[in-house]
């Protein structure tokens, strides 16, 4: 049987499939055994209780979705009291996603959540909703370096920096996160987008703009994954539009050591266990003992000019 395990810094995951923040919660345990996936990643929480955005919070567009959920958060206290014990019952490592409004708040909150039972902290420095229409830490290398450095000095836990596609400086931001001490990168969060009802003129999200996720995002975040994997030495976790095992393999080939599955879980709640099974079957079919032969295997075609001959 093929070995699906993968290492994200000091952490070993039994397989590379995990949920994307905000698209996973305790309720999914009513659909499948949550211990079959590589890790658990919680919805981003903030220290203080906060409400999300006005409805409609989601809409569908051409085979993909927009969301402007915002970061409704029941606050750190309820999270520690209710959510942490729930996940403690599972073997899969728990990754907590956090957000804050300033670098110092980020650091303070990271310190507070560095509790036993937490395997890593994913820092959502890229959520396009929380700050003014999409401006987030991860848009510039400077602000990225600042926030990660402060968080680094506040926690001993692995830091996963979740990057944003809403930047023209992907490589510089990735390198800034690495330089500041991030242990892994997650590429990426949603792309800022919008939809309008052409009949009524109504903007289809209550918050005007929101994040694009699902299949339409894949070519963009796959590109980011490839760029980042080439530019940094720390592991990269691919995320964006994954719904099939071919998508998973594309991300691994682009250089990702693991992947996160988001929107696809909404379309089929069993997507993650299916991907684990299909990835195993694919490795077996290709005669591969582990993921090593796939990770970073993307390459230019040898001879792109001559098309295959027919017969």
């Amino acid at each position: 049987m093929a070995d699906l395990s993968t290492r994200i810094g000091a952490l070993t995951l039994k397989n590379p499939i995990m949920p994307a923040s905000g698209t996973f919660s305790e309720e999914l345990a009513e659909v499948f055994d949550l211990d079959c996936i590589g890790a658990h990643v919680t919805k981003t929480i903030t220290r203080e209780k906060r409400s999300g955005n006005p409805v409609p919070r989601v809409c569908e567009v051409n085979g993909a979705m927009l969301n402007s959920i915002g970061i409704p958060s029941k606050g750190a206290d309820l999270f520690v009291k209710n959510t942490m014990p729930f996940y403690a019952a599972y073997e899969a490592p728990l990754v907590i996603s956090i957000s804050a409004n300033t670098a110092d708040d980020f650091a303070r909150f990271a310190e507070e959540v560095s509790a036993p039972g937490v395997a890593a902290i994913e820092v959502n420095i890229s959520c396009p909703n929380i700050e003014d229409h999409g401006k987030a830490f991860a848009i510039r290398p400077g602000s990225t370096e600042d926030v990660i450095r402060k968080i680094r000095s506040a926690t001993h836990l692995p830091i996963w920096a979740k990057l944003s596609p809403n930047t023209g400086e992907v490589v510089e931001v990735a390198q800034a996160a690495e330089a500041a001490g991030a242990d892994a990168l997650v590429t990426a969060n949603t792309m800022l987008a919008m939809a309008i009802d052409s009949r009524s003129g109504e903007i289809r999200l209550g918050n005007v703009m929101g994040g694009l996720s699902g299949p339409a995002l894949k070519p963009i975040t796959l590109r980011m994954t490839y760029q980042c994997a080439k530019a940094v030495a720390i592991p990269v976790i691919g995320c964006g539009g994954i719904s099939s095992v071919d998508d998973v393999i594309e991300y691994l080939m682009a250089g990702a050591r693991a992947v996160q599955v988001g929107t696809a879980t909404f379309i089929s709640p069993n997507t993650m266990p299916r991907l684990v099974a299909e990835l195993e079957a694919t490795l077996a079919a290709r005669g591969l003992a582990s993921l090593d032969a796939l990770i970073g295997a993307a390459r230019l075609a040898d001879e792109t000019i001559t098309l295959a001959e027919y017969a």
């Binding site: 659909v31 409400s51 999300g52 006005p54 409805v55 085979g63 969301n67 029941k74 909404f266 379309i267």
Partner: protein, 284 residues
Amino acid sequence: MSASLRAISDSAFAPAGLVRQPSIHELEARIKSHEWVNGQYRLMVLAAPDCVLDCRPGQFFHLLCPQTDRFQPYFRRPMSIYGYDRERGELSFLYKVAGTGTGALAELEAGDTLNIVGPIGQGFEIRPEWQRPLLLARGVGLATLAPLAKECASLGRPLTAICSARSPDLLMSTDLFRDCGAEVITVTDEEGNSGVESLTALIEGLIATRGINAFFTCGSARLMRMLQDIGTRHGIGGQVALEQHMACGIGMCQACVRPFRRADGAVNLRVCREGPVFDLQEAM
């Protein structure tokens, strides 16, 4: 949406502990029949295994409408359970052909399969003290209240059902309600007896004559507010089944929240998880 609602925090309750046995199922179900009920509504009957028939009136399923040449829906579509029958292994939905998703759904034929996720959500609760329920359904709200009528019948509670629609030909399932032994009153816009004023008079009459002591409603925000008013005046409680745009349908995404009145202020609850059935007076 008003600015004040922005200040409402989202609340959620987590399931109790480690769950190893799935209670929400994703499966392909075969369509046994799929008929037009009138010009706008279709009734779909699926062959369904026992595991998903362990459900309650008011719960719903999340349907993966197919990709067709004309319609390419992306999200699933929530649909109330119209009927469930363990003996015959049947699950049915009564739905209005509205847009992309239900348009695609309507193209399926008997023999085709449909991917369904469910049963989901909190169903109706018929409290012991609610001995004389009134059901008030508008339009497709009938679909949601139909299994509740059956449940009332099996509990032996005498039942009155008011069915409201735009026109008489859009009144559905009145026979189903009658078969449950319900007293059925129909009102329509066309006949001019479906307005809030005449309905209020009608219902206050029923309270006096029938001893109505619980309200169940679905399908109209206007009628829900009317029942809240009557309920407050007469001290009558009840429940309402609500709707909201959904993405995940099972509580993960926080897309489907609506605000509810609670003792300590307003709170956002997820229609897919804390609902779709809510306390009548808490709904806003």
